[in-house]
């Protein structure tokens, strides 16, 4: 059984350029080279039809789309807690079985990360970064550079400087493949527990003032 990649675009704004790169032939080929056999994508609200189209266009010389699920790699749909539909494709990429699962929004994202994920690629929102780091999973944070006035680039660079993650300043294939390769070769620092006694005492003192 190969490894699982989890991709999260956050719940509020879809991030089509990231999804398109992850589900592209060169990236899928690189994933299979690195022993990945499953991709779970939380692609965000309002992107279901576009994701369906993306899946339908997948067949190529290197990618064979299979009708039936791979019995060896299949993950039960009941594992995912969601109100939206679950889009499922079984592929052969260079004759290696790869399963692609897309979901609009997951309610049990932490459970999926904890139990089924070896690597996370997410947009660079603080919520997604914290989810990954708190569960001590390797993380590639990709900045959504099409958002106006956002702090994704700053926060990604800051966390990378602290050696907690790999960052990409925009969604592009060469950078993402580079980070993917580095994620199998390097290890990052462990994110510390953010529970803080001084803050707790401050809350207590103030409440009782």
């Amino acid at each position: 059984m190969g490894k699982t990649l989890f991709v999260s675009c956050g719940a509020t704004v879809p991030f089509p350029r990231l999804i398109e790169i992850v589900v592209s032939e060169p990236f899928l080929v690189e994933l299979t080279n690195l022993q990945y056999s499953r991709i779970i994508l939380q692609y965000g609200k309002g992107y279901t039809a576009a994701f369906q189209t993306l899946l339908d266009s997948l067949g190529s010389s290197k990618i064979e789309v299979r009708e039936e699920k791979h019995p060896s790699t299949t993950i039960q749909d009941s594992v995912f807690v969601t109100d939206s539909s679950i889009l499922h494709r079984s592929l052969n990429v260079n004759d290696v079985a790869v399963e692609v699962i897309g979901i609009e929004f997951l309610s049990n994202i932490q459970d999926i990360i904890t139990n089924y994920t070896d690597l996370i690629i997410s947009h660079s929102g603080t919520g997604s970064i914290l989810d990954a780091l708190r569960l001590h999973k390797p993380l590639i944070a990709v900045v959504n550079d099409s958002l106006m006035d956002n702090h994704q680039l700053q926060i990604a660079q800051k966390f990378e400087a602290l050696n907690y993650l790999w960052s990409c300043s925009s969604p592009n294939l060469p950078d993402l493949i580079d980070r993917l390769q580095r994620s199998t070769a390097e290890t990052k620092a462990t994110f510390p527990n953010t529970y803080n006694t001084d803050f707790q005492n401050l809350l207590l003192d103030l409440a009782n003032k």
Binding site: T126, N196, F199, Q200, N201, L202, K209
Partner: protein, 236 residues
């Protein structure tokens, strides 16, 4: 003669309110750094220093703000989500409300919800906008007043982290403190977003002048733009 007494009375009360204003605003406070209240167990003989029986007001913004607020609550659940606490939860966004409600299934504290209606609808005319803004402001004042009464003489905290509506909420808490005769601080804590590394958000800039405790999550932000802020590292 009577006129002189009246003007003297007015002058004295105005001066008293100005003095009180100086006392309640955080930037006039002298940070004494005293440790006398720490670990004493009992403060002023009645209130016991623990995480029980606290009335907590929080405001849920949207998306990232709500996410950070939920992380703070869970990180400090011993104090903030104790079963004997009362939570007053303000919200204006349904997603945040549902997310919070789902999280609270695990906790036993009593929760009261208050909806803060968004002030202006897109495309509304000037007159109807003014009407709806005034109505929203008055409704929020009524909610805050109600919560303030409930908190009176009990250990309490007001926990805010943005966005805009927080400023109005903090302003009302301070206004009630200023105009009321009983002196009981609203205990406003503001935690600036983790996404703010070296500049304050707009809400942060305003609440820097209103919150009783102002926290930032990056050292650079305290050094560059918020010297009075407290910094204890990442809190979310």
């Amino acid at each position: 003669m009577i006129l002189e007494y009246i003007s003297a009375a007015i002058l004295i009360s105005v001066s008293l309110f100005i003095i009180k204003l100086i006392f309640i605003l955080p930037f006039f406070k002298i940070d004494s750094n005293d440790t006398t209240t720490k670990d004493s167990g009992i403060i002023d003989g009645i209130k016991i220093r623990n995480g029980k029986n606290i009335e907590v007001f929080i405001f849920l913004g949207s998306g990232g703000h709500t996410g950070e607020m939920i992380r703070i609550l869970q990180n400090y659940k011993n104090i903030l989500l104790d079963g004997s606490n009362v939570m007053h939860v303000g919200y204006s966004d349904m997603d945040s409300y549902n997310r919070f409600k789902a999280m609270m299934k695990e906790y036993k504290c009593k929760v009261n919800y208050y909806e803060f209606v968004k002030a202006r609808k897109v495309g509304a005319g000037i007159v109807s906008s003014i009407c709806s803004i005034t109505k929203t402001l008055l409704m929020s004042l009524r909610i805050i007043f109600q919560i303030r009464i409930s908190m009176l003489n009990k250990p309490h905290l007001v926990l805010l982290n943005g966005p805009g509506t927080c400023c109005i909420i903090a302003l009302y808490f301070k206004l009630i403190e200023w105009l009321s005769l009983v002196t009981d601080s609203p205990n406003i804590v503001y935690v600036e977003s983790l996404a703010r590394i070296d500049t304050l958000s707009l809400s942060g800039k305003i609440l820097y002048w209103l919150a009783d405790e102002f926290l930032v999550q990056w050292k650079e932000l305290k050094e560059k733009n918020a010297p009075r802020a407290k910094f204890f590292g990442i809190l979310v």
